[in-house]
């Protein structure tokens, strides 16, 4: 595979053809936030938080699914990028339930961590929110889809890693939901106990049914008022 030279945040960088901007940035120690991308799995570009600026491109591009090309000039943390990520974050939080202070995942939640990192507190926008019943009848996995941001990582992890195809995206638009079978409660009939999907979830929507205090490992989280 031939290598390609690009300009990444002002420095000249060489990387193998076929790599995505995200992969090259990571190789060079640049941290781009992601929610939906999973290393080694096909990208979906669902969440948009990984956007970067590419010279000559009309819009910002998703770094997780855009391959590098010869001579590409990329800014991963320009003011425009940071502002846009902030707005994307606000939009993700707008229809998120927002009850972090009640969530067992709160201080270990990727959604919250990246929101805090982008200095996003409560979103400016008001929108509908969806509340689903918690699914906790499976002995292996608890699903609380009220917290789901539809990144579809669980779908791909279960399809492409576990090979079990338990989940799919059902419905459309605001009604979209990660469904099991004909939108049934996740139970042990369809899901084997591999637990592969759980750590992929960037929110508290998927968790293992354990006692709350066993998993508290992270530091307290401060959210801007």
């Amino acid at each position: 595979m031939s290598s390609i030279t690009i300009a990444l945040n002002g420095s000249e960088v060489t990387a193998a053809e076929g790599k995505t901007i995200l992969e090259v940035a990571q190789e060079n120690g640049i941290d781009i936030p992601t929610f939906c991308s999973v290393e080694g799995l096909s990208p979906t570009g669902a969440c948009r938080i990984c956007v970067v600026e590419v010279e000559g491109s009309r819009t910002l591009v998703g770094s997780c699914h855009t391959p590098i090309t010869q001579g590409m000039v990329i800014q991963t943390h320009s003011q425009k990028v940071i502002e846009t990520r902030g707005v994307i974050m606000e939009l993700l939080l707008t229809s998120h339930c927002g009850t972090c202070y009640m969530c067992e995942q709160a201080n270990a939640c990727k959604l919250r961590a990246i929101a805090a990192d982008l200095d996003v507190g409560l979103p400016r926008f008001q929108s509908k929110k969806r509340f689903y019943q918690i699914e906790d009848i499976s002995p292996y996995i608890v699903r609380d889809l009220t917290k789901c941001i539809l990144c579809r990582k669980c779908v791909r992890a279960c399809n492409e890693i576990a090979g079990k195809n338990v989940f799919a995206t059902g419905y459309r638009g605001f009604d979209s939901k990660i469904v099991v079978d004909f939108d049934e409660v996740l139970d042990k009939k369809v899901c084997r106990d591999c637990g592969i999907c759980i750590p992929h979830c960037p929110t508290g929507a998927l968790s293992a049914p354990v006692g709350i205090t066993e998993e508290k490992k992270a530091t307290p989280l401060i959210i801007r008022s």
């Binding site: 338990v166 419905y171 469904v179 939108d183």
Partner: protein, 148 residues
Amino acid sequence: MTQVPKGIIDKDRDPEQLLVLLKEAQDKAGYLSEEVMAELAESLSISRSEVYGVATFYSFLSTKPLGRNVIRICQSLPCYLKNYQTIVESIEKEIGIRPGQTTDDDRFTFTLTNCIGACDKAPAMLINSDVHANLTPEKISQILKDYK
């Protein structure tokens, strides 16, 4: 699980054909019952959730029983600006149900839809596959008479 009548699902097709097969199954069976979707999943060796995901994404596919005739009023911008709401109201008055419902005698299912490509003749609606355009509230009862 009840038996799916023969001929609803054509078996020798590949998963890429899912959408076409769902459409065909709906045309034959009237709607996509769980039995039909389960059999389709099995015959294509894909998960039920995938079949359900596709079936619920497309608004012209239905996982619930439909009436004999399906009225779809366009709610996209041109029809919206040409007072589609008055058409919705006259249909509601005429058949006594609201969008999303089916009449007790199964004669009509009534829904709203997005653009049906008749913007130049807004407001427009589909009944089954017939386009009715340049609608006015006065035209409604005459149009509906033809659908039994």
